[in-house]
Subunit: 458 residues, 4 copies
C-alpha cells in the first residue's frame, strides 16, 4: 500500500532530534535554580509549550553530570518526589468513609509518587526517552548498594512497560546494507557468539543464507532493543561449527529447508525486565515463512547454561532419579578437563551426557516448578518443543564450562505453539519430541534408557 511511504518519513524528525544529544556530550545550560527547582517547575507546568525546554535542560544536566551527581539525582527523586502523604491520608480517609471507585481513584492518584509524572514529563524532551533508558541503566547499577532506590526503579519500570509495549515496536531486518551506526551495535551487543570485527559481522549478515532481525522503538533511534541472528540451512544443525564455520560454503536462501535461530541478544540494559524476545521470534518466523515459503523447519540452536551446575549437584546426591548409578560413576571422566581430546572418553560420555541433559531439560524444576534451565523456560514458555539434544555441539570454553558442550534445538512449529504454550503454563507440561522423551525416560536402570541410544545425535 503506497501511503506507507508518507508515514515512513514520520520518524525522521524524531531520529534527528534524538541523535544530537546522546552523541558527544554538549555543554548544556545548567537548569536554572538547580535541578530540583527545574523538576518542580516541570511538574507545575503552567504552560505546556515551555515544558519541552525544561525537560530538555534537566535531561541534559543529568547526562553531563559525573557519577555522584547522577546518583544524587536519584536520591532527590526518592526523597523529594515521593507521594504526597497528607493528600494520601485524606484520600484514604475518604475511601474508608465511603468506598467507591471514585474514592479508590483518589487514593490511587494520591499514592502515586510525584516522580512518575516527573518521568513522564522528562520524556517530552527531544532526547527524553533515550536519556531515561540511560538513567535507568545507571540506576540499576546503584540498586545493590542503595536498596531504597528500588521504589524509584519500579516507577521507571512501570512506565517503560507502557511505552515499550509490543505495539510500539518495529521489526527490521538487518543486513550489510543497514546503517553502520546500527551494525556497530550488533557487534557490541552480541552476547552469545562474539563478533570480533567488521569482517566477521559481514559474514553474519551479508550472505544469502544469513539473516538478522531486530526490534526498534520509534524513540530510541539507532538503537536495536533486541536482535536475533538466523542461519538458513539445509537441515537442523547439531553443532555451532556447522553454523559459524568461516569456511562454510553459503547456500542460496531458496535451497534452505531450515531457519536456525542461533543467537538472541538483548541490547538495552536500561530496559531490563521489559521482555521482547517472545514477540521477536514469533514475528521473525512469520516473516520468514512469507518470504521463503519453502522453509519447513524453524528451530533454535541454543545453549544449556544451567546443565553443568545442575549435573554437579545431582552427582553429589546420594540418590537421584536423574542419574542411574553407573552413569554417576562414568561421569567421573568429566574431571579430566581434556576429556574432549580423548576419543574413548568422548564415546563413553556420549550416551550418558545426552540422557542426563534430556532429563535435565524435561524434568529438572526450580522452586516455582518451572524448568531450571532459563533458556528452556524461555523457549518452552513461547510454545516451542524440545526437539533434539546435541552432544559436543559447542566446544567454546563457556559452553564447556556451563554445559559440557551440549546444545539443544528448540523447534517452533506454528501449528502447535499455542497448544504447547497452554500445556506448559496450564499443566507445567514440557513439549518434547519422541526421541527426547525416550532419552529423558524416568528410570534408574540403564537398561531401559538404552533403547534411546539410537536417538543419539552424532
Amino acid at each position: 500500500m503506497s501511503d506507507a511511504s508518507f508515514f515512513s518519513d514520520l520518524l525522521t524528525s524524531i531520529a534527528e532530534r534524538g541523535r544530537r544529544l546522546l552523541g558527544p556530550a554538549q555543554k548544556a545550560p545548567p537548569a536554572r535554580g538547580g535541578v530540583k527547582a527545574a523538576c518542580e517547575a516541570l511538574l507545575e507546568g503552567r504552560g505546556e509549550a515551555s515544558r519541552v525546554a525544561l525537560a530538555s535542560q534537566i535531561v541534559q544536566t543529568w547526562l553531563v553530570s559525573d557519577e555522584p551527581g547522577r546518583a544524587a539525582f536519584f536520591d532527590m527523586m526518592l526523597k523529594e518526589f515521593g507521594p504526597d502523604e497528607a493528600r494520601l491520608e485524606n484520600a484514604i480517609a475518604a475511601w474508608r468513609a465511603e468506598p467507591s471507585q471514585e474514592a479508590a481513584q483518589a487514593v490511587n492518584e494520591a499514592s502515586e509518587p510525584r516522580r512518575q509524572e516527573l518521568i513522564r514529563r522528562l520524556a517530552l524532551a527531544p532526547e527524553g526517552v533515550a536519556a531515561l533508558v540511560k538513567m535507568r541503566e545507571t540506576l540499576l547499577g546503584l540498586l545493590a548498594d542503595h536498596k531504597s532506590l528500588k521504589v524509584v526503579d519500579d516507577d521507571f519500570s512501570h512506565l517503560f512497560s507502557s511505552w515499550f509495549n509490543r505495539g510500539f515496536l518495529v521489526l527490521r531486518p538487518i543486513d550489510w546494507g543497514a546503517p553502520a551506526n546500527v551494525l556497530e551495535k550488533i557487534i557490541r551487543y552480541e552476547a552469545v557468539h562474539e563478533i570480533h570485527d567488521w569482517d566477521e559481522l559481514r559474514r553474519r549478515v551479508e550472505p544469502d543464507d544469513r539473516r538478522c532481525f531486530a526490534f526498534f522503538h520509534p524513540r530510541l533511534v539507532d538503537e536495536p532493543l533486541i536482535f536475533v541472528e538466523v542461519a538458513l540451512t539445509k537441515s537442523m544443525p547439531a553443532t555451532v561449527a556447522e553454523v559459524l564455520d568461516p569456511g562454510r560454503a553459503p547456500i542460496a536462501a531458496k535451497e534452505a529447508g531450515a531457519a536456525v535461530f542461533y543467537s538472541i541478544s538483548n541490547c538495552q540494559e536500561g530496559l531490563r525486565g521489559v521482555s521482547f524476545g517472545n514477540f521477536l521470534i514469533k514475528q521473525v518466523v512469520e516473516d520468514l515463512r512469507h518470504d521463503l515459503p519453502e522453509i519447513a523447519t524453524f528451530v533454535t540452536l541454543s545453549p544449556v547454561p544451567g546443565f553443568a551446575a545442575w549435573l554437579a549437584r545431582e552427582i553429589e546426591k546420594e540418590d537421584t532419579e536423574a542419574l542411574p548409578p553407573e552413569d554417576r560413576v562414568a561421569l567421573a571422566d568429566l574431571d579430566d578437563r581434556a576429556w574432549m581430546d580423548d576419543p574413548e572418553k568422548v564415546e563413553r560420555l556420549r550416551p550418558i551426557l545426552t540422557r542426563a541433559c534430556a532429563w535435565y531439560l524435561v524434568h529438572a524444576r526450580n522452586s516455582r516448578d518451572a524448568p531450571v534451565d532459563p533458556v528452556a523456560r524461555f523457549h518452552l514458555g513461547n510454545g516451542a518443543r524440545l526437539e533434539r539434544v546435541n552432544y559436543l555441539a559447542d566446544r567454546s570454553p563457556r559452553a564447556v564450562r556451563q554445559a559440557h558442550g551440549m546444545m539443544v534445538n528448540y523447534l517452533y512449529d506454528l501449528g502447535e505453539i499455542e497448544a504447547n504454550h497452554e500445556a506448559f503454563f496450564g499443566r507445567g507440561q514440557v513439549a518434547a519430541s519422541a526421541s527426547v522423551k525416550r532419552l529423558a525416560r524416568r528410570s534408574k536402570t540403564t537398561g531401559e534408557a538404552k533403547t534411546g541410544e539410537a536417538e543419539l545425535a552424532k
Copy 2:
C-alpha cells in the same frame, strides 16, 4: 543525515498492520468464552506472545459490536475491572501500620483499577491504539447519561496523556502531494473555515503561498491529530477575505513577509483533553523560519468567539468600565441585523466595536481570572501578543453571530514568547501591542479613548 532513511521505514509495518482492521468491518472470530473471559485471560497473561492475539480478538469484537454492545463493554470495564478492594484494604492497613514509600507503592498498585492494565494490554493489538481512541470517542458520548463511567474515562485519559505526549508526535507538512487518505481528513476535520470539496482543498494546500502542517502519532496512521493552515502574505492581514478569496493572485513564498495561522483544528474527538496545539504552533514557527528566513511576522487571524455574548451582557449592565455610556447607546445599531449593509452604521460602529473588542480581550476575565475568550486564553497562554483588533474582518454568519465580524491577530514573536508566557501565568498579564493597549485603556469617557482611533484598522 542519511540514516534517517533507515528509520524512516520503521513505521511502515505499523502502518500496514493498523490500517487493515479499521477499514471495512471484518468478521472477527468472537472472543472465546465471551469478552469478559477474554479480558480476564488477557490480564492473567501467562505467556506474553499470546497476548497480541487475545487483545486483537477483544478489540475486534468491540469494533463490530452494535451500540448497546459497545456500551455494555464499558459497563463491564466499570463493574468487573475496578480496583481489587480487599487488596486495597490490606495495603492501606500496611501503610497505616508503617508508612513508607514501599507501602505507598503497594497502596498505589492496589488502588489502580484493573482496567488500566487491561487498556495497556489492549494496546498490544496491531490496531490497538487506534481502536482505543475510537473507544474513548464512544465513551465520551455516553458520559452525559452515564456519569459513573467517568472513572473509566479517567483511565483512558490517563494513559493517552502518557502515550500521546509531545515526544511521540511528529510534525508533517501536508501539501497537494500528501496521500489522498490524509487529505480527505483535512476536508473532514476543518472546523474553522469549512472546505467544501477537493478543489477548495487544493487551493488551501497547493499554492506556493499556502502551507498546512499536522501532528501525527506513529500508532494512528493516516490520522492527523491536529493541523494548522497557514497563509504566506506580504503583510499581516486584517480580514479573512484577504486570505481565502478564491480569486486572489498567489504570491511566491519567497516574497512573503508574514505567515498567517488562520485555522487550527483538532481531529480526534477520542483524544479530547490531550492538548497538542501549543506545541504545534511553536514547531511550525520554527520550521517556517528555517525554510523561509525572510518571513519576519508570525501571526494568527483568529476568531473572537465570546465577544458578542460578553458585549450583550455588558450592554445590559447598569454600569460597566467596559463601555462608555454613549457607546452603549450607539451599540443599539447592532439590533439592525442588516447594519453591515448600511455604510453610515458601519462607520459609526467602527470605533465603538473596535474599542469594546480590545477591552474585552485585555480586561474581561472569567471566574478563574483568565481571559473570558477561549481563543485568547490559548494564544496568550502560548506566549503570543494581542497585536491588532480587526473590524469587519469576517462576514460569515458564524463570525457575525459570535463576534459582530471582529477578528484578532495574535503575534508570535519568538524573542518574547517566553516572557509573555511567564507574565501571563505568573501575573495574569496580557501581552498586547501599544495600539491595542491604547484602545483598551480603562476609561468611561470617550475623550481619552479617541486618541486610540488612529490605531483602528481599516
Copy 3:
C-alpha cells in the same frame, strides 16, 4: 533488504528540483543573446558546470513562450542545428576511399544532426527531461502542418527510446494513499472508462478488490507514464457492469480467483511511440501472483474497437468467408439503433454477433498480415490468449458504436505466454481458447457453426 531505504531517498532531490518549474510559469531571465546563441553556447560548452544553468535558461524560455515562439524554436532546431554538411562530405569521402569501422563511425558522427546533442544537453536542466517531453508533445501537434519537422521529431524519439527504456521505469501501486497530485492524473488520463470525480476515483483504487499500477520514471515526477486498473473478482467477468457497478459488494482480495485488467491508459502524449504496455502487464501479473498466490486467472476485459467498422465492410461484400449469407441478412437488425431494447432482436443477434466477432479477432488481417483489431494485436503480441467473446458486455455509446457492445477476455497464462508470443510473431498464429476457435471456424454455412452455440457467453 534494508539498504533499499538509503537509495529510496535518492529521487527526492530530483523530484524537488523538477517540480518547481513545471508548476505555475515563472519569469525566467531570457537566455542572453537570444535562444539561438544560448543553444550554440550550450553545444560549445567549454565548462561543463555552466551547462546546467544554460540548459535551464533555454528550457525556461521555451516554456514561457507563446505558440508561435514555441514553433519558431523547432524551426530553429530544424534549420540551424542539422548535420554539418561539409564535415559529412569529408567523412563520406574518407569512407569511400577506405571503408572501415572507424570511417563509418566518422560518417555516423558527422551525419548526426547537431540538435541531438542539443537535446541531450537540454536534459541537464533540473527540469530538462520533463520539459523535453512537453516539447515533443507540442512538436507532434505541429507535424501535420509542418512535415519537414519530422526529422526533428525523430531525434526526440530516438533519445526518448534510450532514456525511457524499461530498465529505468519503476512500477508503483496506486491506491487511495497515493499522493493527490498523482491521483488527479489518473482521473485526467483514464482513457477507457472515464472517471468523473474523486469519489469515483476512490471506488477504483481504494476497495480491497481494486488495484491500480503505474510505471514512473525517475525524471518525470508526479507523472505516471502508463497505468492499468485491475479488478479482483471471483471469476472471469463477461460484462463491464460486473466490474464497474458502483453498487457491487466488494470482496476480500483473498477470496479473488481472477485479476481482471479492465483499463490501460497511456499518459504522456510526448512519449508517443515509446511503448510500455507489454512490460506493464507482465510485471503486474508477476507482482499480483506474489502477493495473492490464490489468484489463478489473469485476464483482461477489453474493447474490440475495430469490430463494427470491419463488420460493416463485410456486410457490404458480395461474398465473404466471415459471414454466412443468412447472418448477413439477420444483421440488418443492427440498423435499428434501439435493438438492444428489443429482447427478441437481442436473442436473435446473440449467436450471430458472437460468431462474427470471434471470426474477426481470429482471422481478420490488415495489410501487414497482423490482426485488424489494435487491442487484439497488443494482447496477442504480448503472448495472451483470446479466451472468450462477450456479447452485450458494454452498453456505453462508444462501445456500441465501435463494437456493437462486444468485449473480449484475453488470458495471460504465464506458462504459455512465451510460446504464444513466438507463434504469433513467427507464424502469425492467434492463440485462442477451444471455444473461441469453434466459434471462429471458417464456414459459410450456419450448420457447423451452430455447434459453437453452447459456448456463447450469456
Copy 4:
C-alpha cells in the same frame, strides 16, 4: 514537500532487481543457441516483453564468463555488430543524389554500428546498466593490446554520456549512518588520502566537522560514482595534518568558518571520461551554504601532482623565466632526500619552492596552452581561484615525490566562479589571489620576487 516520499520509494525495486546478480555469481542458463544468436534475437526483438529476459541472459552469460570469454564477446561486438555496409552505401548514394536532412538521417542510421542498439537493449536487463559499466571496465583494460576495439569503446562511451548525464545523478551525504555496503566502497575507492580501516573511515564521516558527499545513479545501486570528503574548519588550512590528524579536537559544525574539500575520488573505472567532478563541487558548495550559512570560505586543500617533474625540467634548462639563477642553485638542496629534517634547508627552500610553485601553477602550460598541472586545470576550469600555495603541507612520500610537499588551496567563491570560468576558457586567464600573483611575478631577478615573501604561508 511531502510527496517526495512517494517517489522516494521508486528506486527500491530497481535497487532490489539490480543487486542480486552482481553479488555472488549465479549459474545463469546459458543463452540459447549461443551468445551471438541471443544478441541477434535481441536486436530483432519482435516482442518487446521478451527482450528483458533475453538481455538478462546475455548479461548473465558475460558475467560468468572467464577472461577469454569476455574478450571474445567484445570481438564479436566489433566484427558482427558493426554498421550494415550495404545499407550505408545505399544511404550515401541517396544523400549524394539529393542531399537533405532526411537523407542525412538515413546515412546516420545506416552508419550507426548495430552494437549501439545492442548495448541499449542490454540495458533492459534488470542489472543491465551495472553490467554494462563492468563490461566497459574490462574493455578499457583490453584496449592497449586491441586497438581495434576502440570503436566499440566509443559506442559504450557515447551511450554512457547520455545515461549518466548530470540530470540523472543524485547527490547524497554519506555519514556514519550510511549503509555499510556503501561505506565499504568509500574505503575502497578513496584515492587521495588512503583509509585503512573502519575506525579511520568513521573519523572521516562521523564527527560533526566532517562531511562526505557522493553522486549516485538510479541504476547503479550501492555504487557511488564519485565522492568528495569535506572538513569543516575555523579557517583555511595550510597542511594536511591540520585536517587529518587523528588527535585533533573536532569542532561543532556551527563554529566552522571554512569548508575544505580535501579529497575527491572517482569510483567507477567503467565510467572513465564521463565527468562528474565539476558538478559535484558546485552542488556541495550550494548544499553546505544552505545548511551552514555561517560558512564563508569554500576551499580545497589540493595536491600539485605535476610540480616536482616540471621543476626538474626547469632546473635542467639553460635559461628559464620560471627560476632566477640563484634559485636554481639553491634548489640543489632538494638532492638531499632528508632535507625536510634539516631546519636550515627547510627555511632556505621555503621562499624558493613557494615562488616556483606559484609560477608553475600560474604560468606553466601544456601543448594545448592549458595549465600543466591536472588538478589546477580541473579547479581553475571550474571557476575556482588559486588562493594560496602551502609549503611543507603534506609530508607523505607521494606528496614529497610529486610536489616536494607543496599543496594548494583553490577557493570557490560563488560570486566569481562564472567570471573566472569564462576568463579561463575564453582568454586562458588563471584566477589567482593577489598574494599568489605577486609570488608568481615573471622575473629573473630575486629582487622583485622578494617583495612576495611576506605572503609566504608558514
